[in-house]
Symmetry: C2
Subunit: 143 residues, 2 copies
């Protein structure tokens, strides 16, 4: 039951509020990454009262719960994206149309090994993201 919002929220020990369900619904139905403000705009179509801080707070909680992804854009703004792939992977994001594609190539194990053995350090987190143009946008730029 991948789209059972209440189930997902309960698993994260979060209350099943209409706002949370709607945010999940918006993100799940979307194929591109969205900004908090854009999500807020869509929320305003569904609710009379909806504050931007609520959007921010919930997005962060969902990221924390590994339900959605935070995308670091070169423009320094944050975007959010729902991804069904639950195994460890990374993303190729299109800077033009905002599409996201999975990259299953990750050398985290190697990296952790390297940091552990050579640097004697401890890995807390890592970022690996490839930014570019998807096939369609690549074509359009040329055409």
């Amino acid at each position: 039951m991948p789209d059972d919002f209440p189930f997902i929220l309960k698993k994260l020990k979060l209350k099943v509020t209409p706002k949370r369900v709607a945010i999940l619904d918006i993100l799940m139905k979307e194929t591109i990454y969205l900004s908090p403000e854009e999500i807020w705009e869509r929320m305003k179509m569904r609710f009379n009262k909806i504050g931007l801080p609520t959007v921010y707070r919930n997005l962060e909680e969902l990221v924390e719960g590994n339900v959605i992804w935070k995308i670091s854009h070169p423009n320094r703004n944050l975007y959010y994206f729902f991804c069904r792939n639950r195994s460890h992977h990374h993303h190729f994001i299109c800077l033009s149309c905002r599409n996201v594609e999975d990259i299953n190539l990750c050398r985290l194990r190697e990296l952790e090994k390297l940091v552990k053995e050579e640097l004697k350090g401890k890995v807390v987190s890592h970022i690996l993201q490839v930014n570019g143009l998807c096939s369609r946008c690549k074509k359009n730029k040329k055409g």
Copy 2:
């Protein structure tokens, strides 16, 4: 002549101003990554008049010229770091003491190949950064 500041600046077609030279000097002598504000503080010890925008502008120009690195910290602030290693590589940054270590393992070629062949896309940029605790800070946490 890796520490010939005027040479470096001229190569980037930037005028050799005292402020630019000082920023380079500060970063080259430092072993940890610094925030723009911290660099500004140090600049204030050297100059009577020095504006924060000047620091920001110059840091960005130097990043653009591949002379210094921009570090994306999980706290969402930017930091800057000078690295003598001029070949393509990435960094392991210590979240505690701010040390930086080179990671020469990069799978950019594989990634580009993957994006090109499987996704038919074009890579514009990529981020690969490992965040954690260096050996010393790791020990101190335990002790």
